[in-house]
């Protein structure tokens, strides 16, 4: 260590003593020999181990091919599972052999002397920077437009380039939303006189079928004949529940919407649209499994817990002349999750 070097390390020494202000880097430690470096027998052993690992890979791949031809998926759950297992294990060993072999090779046999490479600052040299600026200036001068001037050319170019993407964006956006008729959110296919049917079989439901404590999953009768059955089902699914009329608290205007303790509510959660589905018979609560919004069927399906804000819309029902349950009309509000213009 000479004086020239130490000038970099020693700074203000208030005490005038011998110590530098901070410890110095001790430098890269000495190389420690591995077993395979010192002992040729160990090196040979390591080489055999690597070769064995590569051989394991070959065995694995052969196993995979055997399983492919000899153990097809078949018809039963067990045979499919076996085929998957054998193929997968073959592949695993085929891969593992190569991976472990390569790494073991690197660790035991390849040179493990640490090397040092210098870093250079990321910043390009002053000369390069000056050169870059010079060539840019040259190019700008060649372009026929004064550098730094807000010219007519620049403005026109920017305007043109900014506007051009519209010829791609407008047809893309214009067509991507189908007919863009968001008014469809407000209506479902329920109409006066449309029968309530079981989901998924489609058979109509009589009022006498619905016993206290039961829940029916309901679709409109004849749903299959709609133009887009799934789209309509996504709005029209309903839950049908019968309560003891003494347990049912109805507001005066909705008293006519139920029939003899049977109430029908939209199945689509008013939070973000999952099917509400879980009916707890004893508490008359409907629980949505997605985010746990809980609705009280005995009290107009109002929200009693969870992230939903609005009660489930109620479908007004009655019975027809044969005793089948029918809707009186469509829902009186848009079903499902809220959206900006929902109440407009």
């Amino acid at each position: 260590m000479n004086a020239a070097d130490s000038s970099k390390d020693l700074t203000v020494r208030a005490d005038g003593g011998q110590q530098p202000a901070r410890f110095e880097n001790p430098g890269v430690p000495e190389h420690r020999e591995r077993l395979a470096d010192a002992d040729p027998a160990a090196a040979k052993r390591a080489e055999r181990q690597v070769a064995a690992l590569f051989a394991l890979s070959t065995v694995g791949t052969i196993g995979f091919l055997l399983a492919y031809f000899l153990a097809p998926p078949g018809q039963s759950v067990a045979s499919i599972r076996t085929s998957n297992l054998l193929l997968g294990l073959g592949l695993t060993f085929g891969l593992l052999g190569i991976g472990l072999g390569a790494v073991h090779w690197a660790k035991t046999l390849m040179s493990d002397h640490e090397r040092i490479e210098e870093r250079h600052p990321q910043r390009s040299s002053a000369a390069d920077r000056a050169g870059a600026i010079a060539v840019l200036k040259e190019g700008a001068a060649d372009s026929g437009v004064g550098v730094g001037r807000r010219g007519l050319l620049k403005g026109a170019l920017i305007g043109a380039v900014a506007l051009l993407p519209l010829s791609i964006a407008v047809p893309l956006i214009g067509n991507i939303g189908g007919d863009w008729n968001t008014n469809k959110f407000r209506h479902t296919v329920w109409r006066a006189g449309r029968r309530l049917a079981r989901d998924p079989s489609g058979t109509a439901i009589k009022a006498s079928d619905v016993t206290i404590g039961s829940v029916f999953h309901v679709i409109p009768d004849g749903l299959e004949s709609e133009a887009h059955p799934l789209d309509e089902k996504a709005k029209a699914v309903v839950l049908l529940i019968r309560l003891d009329p003494r347990d049912l608290n109805e507001t005066p205007e909705k008293k006519s919407w139920s029939y003899d303790g049977i109430v029908a509510y939209s199945k689509i959660c008013t939070h973000v649209g999952c099917p509400v589905a879980l009916y707890e018979q004893q508490t008359h609560h409907l629980l949505c499994p997605c985010h746990q919004s809980t609705f009280d069927v005995a009290n107009g399906a109002k929200v009693i817990f969870g992230p939903a804000r609005r009660p489930l819309p109620q479908l007004p029902i009655t019975v027809d002349s044969e005793g089948y349950l029918v809707a009186q009309s469509d829902f009186h509000e848009p079903i499902g999750p809220s959206y900006w213009e929902r109440l407009k």
């Binding site: 039963s76 035991t108 989901d199 016993t211 404590g213 099917p275 018979q281 508490t283 499994p289 817990f305």
Partner: protein
């Protein structure tokens, strides 16, 4: 010391003795208790026996005439099916009053359950215990069963019957161990929080299809071990713990200085 005497002092002697004693007690108990009773039409004796069992085990909550009380509903008209289910799965007698009746070790043998069922059935007409044919999974259509299960049951019991949460600590239990007749009875009678699936909602044939579906699920998953069939949460936990765990282990090995 003689060889046999020496063996008494062997260090495994107490273990062997304990195992032998357990074996003896177990065998004795099995020999002395009754086997499952054969199904037969209930006789007047059965109803009388059932009435006695009822008074001893059920009347405190359900009332001496099974007409209910503040703590428990009336059992008039619930039928033999309800009793067979509730008592047969150990749910009744309940340990503590509450909306969830968890299944626990069954307190009565099959004959006693049949007697209780006969007694309750005699109080008022109600759903009967299903016949073997009604719950035979081999006669059901598992594809139709799955469609019905998906619409009516999966939201509480999960897609394959692995169980799920209800509100306030209640839950719909896993169905892996439930017997076909108990499944049938549960659908028919709507125990505790579960809705009632009467024959007007799910016909006998449809109930059998559901049973066929649930029994088929017990074969396991074609993709391998099913991690509890709990869905993406257990899969995510597994990839962090096992997948990333194995790979970090491998990475430590790759990066470590070799000897």
């Amino acid at each position: 010391m003689k060889a046999r005497a020496a063996r008494r002092y062997h260090r495994f002697a107490p273990v062997a003795l304990l195992l032998g004693a357990l074996l003896a007690v177990g065998a004795g108990y099995a020999a002395l208790t009754d086997g499952p009773a054969a199904a037969a039409a209930p006789t007047a004796d059965d109803i009388a026996a059932g009435s006695q069992l009822f008074r001893a085990n059920c009347a405190t909550c359900h009332g001496p005439s099974a007409s209910g009380s503040r703590n428990a509903p009336s059992l008039i008209g619930v039928g033999a099916a309800a009793v067979d289910f509730q008592v047969g799965t150990g749910r009744m007698p309940m340990h503590a009053n509450g909306p969830q009746a968890p299944a626990k070790p069954v307190q009565f043998d099959q004959q006693q359950i049949s007697q209780l069922a006969a007694y309750v059935a005699s109080l008022g007409a109600g759903p009967a215990v299903p016949t073997a044919e009604q719950v035979d999974a081999a006669l059901g259509n598992p594809a139709n069963g799955m469609a019905l299960f998906r619409t009516n049951c999966a939201m509480c019991h999960n897609a394959v019957g692995g169980g799920g949460a209800l509100s306030q600590g209640k839950y719909a239990p896993a169905l892996w161990q439930t017997t076909p007749s108990h499944i049938f009875e549960a659908m028919l009678t709507g125990p505790q929080s579960m809705p009632v699936f009467s024959n007007a909602n799910l016909s006998d044939q449809e109930k059998r299809d559901v049973i066929a579906y649930l029994v088929a699920q017990r074969e396991g998953s074609p993709g391998g071990a099913d991690l509890g069939s709990l869905g993406p949460v257990s899969e995510g936990l597994w990839v962090w713990v096992v997948g990333l765990g194995l790979l970090i282990g491998a990475a430590v090995w790759v990066g470590a200085k070799s000897s």
